[in-house]
Symmetry: C2
Subunit: 363 residues, 2 copies
């Protein structure tokens, strides 16, 4: 568990951000509101976050000379993606505060360690089994049944690195699809809805969660987030409590998201933890207009050692992702009363690419 | 009157901004939300807006080579201050769209032309007289009486370039104080309060005003803005209508502010136009959290040819400027529930320097 850092930074400090996509961009914009400058480190020369950062470095995450210069130039480092190489995290953490810490990365980069960690906290997860061979897979399917889902342990996101094991699926074929990588099989969860909790933990151990939000995915990519979630008070409280315990057990500093399935109804309604994202999260974008403090401001507050802000909600909120061509509707969205358009400054609207989002708040 | 430009830009466009202070910074931040990149041109190497702009140029406003390169690199130019030299504005306008246009600058840079322009629209202004000599001043004081206020025609802001002519004032001394510059004498207005209207006009002639706000100055610098203003509906309507007519007569494109005095009470309550600012304005900072669209987003929408956003107010709002040492309260303000802190990234908290502001919204 990383040691809480009681010495906060002050305005004027330089926040290092690994990754140059839209999450880094929105962290940098929030940092600017608080007088914090951003230095973005990313491999791609046309990273959207560079456009709003005081400094940027185009560099590979394995380039230790570049990382050392970056660490020397900043006061704290954070990141926008969970697949920061462990060696990179260790290298930076030896030179400058890294929030969230290496433990959060280690646990969440591997689906097996993540599931074991969550289960170890006494929280419900889908049944799962380790799969290192086709024989493992056959045994696991025997135990967990069909349908179930085979997922690579590492580098999965937006539905990548996973395949459904349906009644008629050929196991060898499925194992081929995920490239024979170390994997887990997850038992099927007959969920009624998908929700997430976006929360923050400060350097002083303080915890603040935004309201539980409900997520609608299309083609494995988040399409809509709606708040409040259609969820009973008990299950809602359970969801927030799960996030609190996860944050505490990780000694977490910063914003994180916990994706969950809702199962059962009425008195038997409960949540099952699906995934932890050790970063600001797409399902928290609604907070920019829908909460007193946005998740991006909250993250900057947390990693800089500032007090956390209020997570009070401002109304009934919907967030719609603009994926690929959907961003071409920008002019229509600008003309829509009450719609708040956010575009990420990406040049090409490729299919499946997150180009922007829009929030709608009903008060 | 500048010709309306029906061809709007698209996300990805480059917005040129003259001036690198907090207003330029907040315009650049809003532009980023809409996928618009900012190129900031300013003479000072440590300009706060550089930290959030995709590109910047350190250059003098008279450096035509630098201005030409800047004009070539951007799709439209705007500015954060009204004292853009006329030659600079003309030079840029010949090369790229300039919004607001040269006429808005010409009228508002000179208190005499501004007053004559406003009076010519049939709107109430304080009685005034041109002062080009000590003899002029003596005659003007005979006519307008004491107290009255002697103001240089150009380059006055935050109380600079003006002196009160009180009962006991020596006229020669007063004329000395303002450096014998071309001036006007303004008759004293016994106002009950100071208000302003922040409004926008789009390339299509559309007009949208934020609610009238009430301003409290200390040492001639804006200290607080409160919304709604304590103002009857008739006087409020008169204030908005004055802004609408001013915007239309200037063929204005962008956000502007009209500062006004409120005089009289009850049925005889009315507004007197004091000053026009052809730019986003400190008294509009409350809109960032207090209105559906912030003045900065609205300005970007207007100058890019996008539809104007909703100016609906979200509650009862107070904006407090953080001047000089007041910004040292940042940690306490971050911990205040419901307070939204904005810091401008300025290194030295010099007395009288605007370092940031905080908004408080009661819903």
């Amino acid at each position: 568990m990383s040691t809480p850092d009681p010495t906060g930074l002050a305005p004027g400090a330089m926040l290092g951000i690994l990754g140059g996509g839209q999450l880094a961009r929105m962290i940098a914009l929030a940092a600017a509101d608080l007088g914090i400058r951003a230095h973005v480190f990313a491999p791609e020369a046309d990273s959207p976050a560079f456009d709003v950062a005081a400094r940027h470095t185009v560099g590979d995450y394995e380039d230790e000379a570049a990382l050392a210069r970056f660490a020397d130039a900043v006061d704290v480092v954070t990141y926008e993606f969970e697949n920061v190489p462990a060696a990179t995290a260790a290298f930076l953490a030896a030179r400058t505060p890294l929030h969230p810490g290496a433990r959060a990365l280690a646990v969440t980069q591997d689906r097996l360690s993540e599931k074991s960690f969550v289960a170890g906290l006494g929280l419900a997860v889908a049944p799962f089994a380790q799969v290192d061979s086709l024989a493992d897979l056959a045994r696991a399917v025997d135990t967990l049944g069909r349908p179930s889902i085979l997922k690579t342990r590492r580098f999965g996101y937006d539905g990548k690195g996973q395949v459904k094991i349906a009644a008629e699926s050929d196991l060898a074929e499925a194992y081929e699809v995920i490239g024979h990588f170390p994997a887990i099989l997850e038992g099927y969860v007959a969920f009624t809805r998908e929700v997430s909790v976006v929360a923050a933990r400060g350097t002083d151990g303080s915890f603040a969660a935004f309201d539980v939000c409900e997520n609608e995915h299309r083609d494995h990519i988040l399409a809509f987030t709606r708040i409040p979630a259609q969820l009973g008070a008990d299950a809602g409280g359970m969801a927030i409590e799960a996030a609190r315990r996860i944050g505490e057990a990780l000694g977490y500093i910063g914003v994180f998201a916990v994706e969950m399935f809702v199962v059962g109804e009425g008195a038997s309604e409960r949540v099952i933890v699906n995934e932890i994202a050790p970063r600001v999260h797409n399902s928290g974008h609604w907070t920019s207009e829908g909460a007193e403090t946005s998740q991006f401001h909250q993250h900057v507050r947390a990693v800089c050692g500032f007090p956390l802000g209020s997570t009070a909600r401002r109304g009934t909120v919907e967030m719609e992702n603009l994926i690929g061509d959907a961003a071409l509707r920008w002019r229509e969205l600008l003309a829509e009363p009450g719609a708040h358009l956010h575009l990420y400054g990406k040049r090409d609207a490729r299919p499946g690419r997150k180009m922007g989002h829009v929030t709608r708040v009903k008060r």
